[in-house]
Amino acid sequence: MAAVTDPIAAAPRRRADSHRGLVFILLAPVLAFFVVFNTIPLLWLLGLSFHNFSLTSGMPPEFVGFQNYYQLWLGRNNFWGDLSRTFTFVAVGVTIQTLLGVGLGLLFWGSRTMPGRRIALTLLFAPMVLTPVATGTFFRFIYDPNFGVLNQMIQGLGLPMVDFLGSPATAYWAVLAVDCWMWTPFMILMTLAALGSVPKAELEAAEIDRLPFRKRFTLVILHHGKFILMLGILLRVIDSFKTLDLIIPMTKGGPGQQTRLVAVELNKQAFESFNMGFSSAYAVYLLLVSIAMTSVFIFVLNLRRRRGS
């Protein structure tokens, strides 16, 4: 059905063959970039992951087979600890962002006629385009136990001072809070997009039928908006799995290992300790995770394409 109405989908494959030269010219620059900056480095990475290679030792790479993978699997450098911390970070963070984002998105739903709407939305969406390093640095200032504004407020309420980023009990949650502050606006954005995809007629019908809000939400809004919301959640999952910029200026993974997420540890292993072989194996594990997540993302995307429109 779609093939008949959609001229692009109907374009036969032989088009590519009859314009082989043109297709090649069009694709050549991107392919060249891709091979030089992606394929070759990736193979390099893969090869290196089977070697024992440290840049500081000055020794040539030594082939060790699967030893790096095996050691990580056995939990060298607390690999599983980093992974579970990261998954908790993703799960808790994305859940909070989704709940807050959907709630605030619904609140902002009827704001079309609001005076100064564009400015208000700019202020609301600003956190997600800030430089993460700058944000992290400045939050260190806000969280500071001595002169940070947050502690001043807490002490104003008569509560004891808290060293948010320095104490093992609070550091993780303090970092997570900043992540939520930065990325809840993204889920608001996605919620507004999802709400925009709900047909007006159905909403009016639900209004006339006097459906209670809860039913309207599950039957009408979620029914139409769930794909966009799902894409939003997936994008957040993938992105927060990579969290690094924010943590470096705030805690550098400390205190202890409290805020050491996978990206932070890999960064340290590769560019502070220069354990290149070990880091490569680490990176290959992460590559498998991100390939899995990308597959899910594209699967959901195709689901929407097939059902939507």
């Binding site: 590519a16 991107v30 970039f33 891709f34 900056f37 609001m114 600003a126 990206a263 960064n267």
Partner: protein
């Protein structure tokens, strides 16, 4: 009445969300004593001294700022240009392996930064390309390609192939069809791809830190390694620099709010907020 109350609530939410940013911006106008004052000062006599100091006493700031501008502009222009060509080929001719390549492109963007840059670092170190503007621009361009291809392919799929066919039948060259007939119709996609990659490279620190150096250092790199800590952090300096640095992205999302959604979702979701 209810309506204005509702709007007041929305404004309040937006302002609360913006408060930490406002705190940074306010701090930039404070003296060193005011910034570290306890309790924090909400009312103070604003001073422009910090901004004057920034440009006069710190020569490296200007260089780093210029690096940020040059690196992001040049690399994104290259990336969007070549991505448009590739997206056109993907959308119109669907060569074998299109889906697979689109998948590979995306998975690069889904990988944690250190994993991406590790082999590049070794490659750059081996060839002596580190701390070189051209090498860094090329890498950033490569990193901006996946995003741009995804956005632009989405937009190109939405332009009917009849335009191309009409153009060709009437004797237009491929060059004419691609750049004169099709390109103007995907302008929103080009803008979205451009702005979002620009903001990304502008804010990027890790790649600059790992494969860059003193000459190519941008502001986030300088901030991350604590260039501005003369025994404890120099907060007035950081607040001032941060204020200047975060202003362009915020202005960009004000000016290009229509494209926010397209950009933030790799073009997989379209529409306006």
């Amino acid at each position: 009445m209810r309506r204005s109350l509702y709007h007041a609530v929305l404004w309040l939410v937006a302002l609360i969300w913006f408060a930490p940013v406002a705190w940074i911006i306010l701090s930039a106008f404070k003296t060193r004593e005011d910034i570290l004052a306890t309790p924090p000062k909400l009312l103070f006599t604003p001073t422009l001294q910090n901004f004057r100091d920034l440009f006069t006493t710190n020569a490296s700031f200007v260089v780093q700022f210029a690096n940020s501008v040059v690196l992001s502009l040049v690399s994104v222009v290259i990336a969007v240009a070549i991505s448009f060509l590739a997206a056109y080929a993907f959308s119109r001719f669907k060569p074998k392996g299109t889906d697979f390549l689109m998948f590979l492109l995306l998975s690069v963007r889904m990988l944690p930064g250190p994993a991406v840059i590790l082999p590049i670092y070794l490659m750059y170190a081996a060839f002596g390309w580190k701390d070189n503007h051209v090498a860094l621009v090329l890498f950033y361009a490569m990193f901006s390609v996946p995003f741009s291809v995804w956005i632009l392919k989405g937009f190109l799929d939405g332009v009917s192939i009849r335009y191309d066919e009409t153009g060709r039948v009437n004797g237009g060259s491929w060059f004419h069809v691609i750049f004169r007939v099709v390109l103007p119709q995907v302008k929103p996609g080009l803008i979205a791809a451009f702005i979002f990659n620009l903001i990304f490279v502008w804010n990027e620190f890790l790649f600059n830190f790992v494969i860059g150096g003193v000459q190519t250092q941008n502001i986030p790199y300088a901030l991350a390694v604590g260039t501005y800590s003369d025994g404890g952090l120099n907060w007035t300096f950081i607040a001032t620099m941060t204020t200047i640095y975060i202003l362009p992205p915020i202005l960009a999302i004000y000016a290009f709010q229509k494209y926010l959604l397209v950009g933030m979702t790799f073009g997989t979701v379209r529409g306006e907020v």
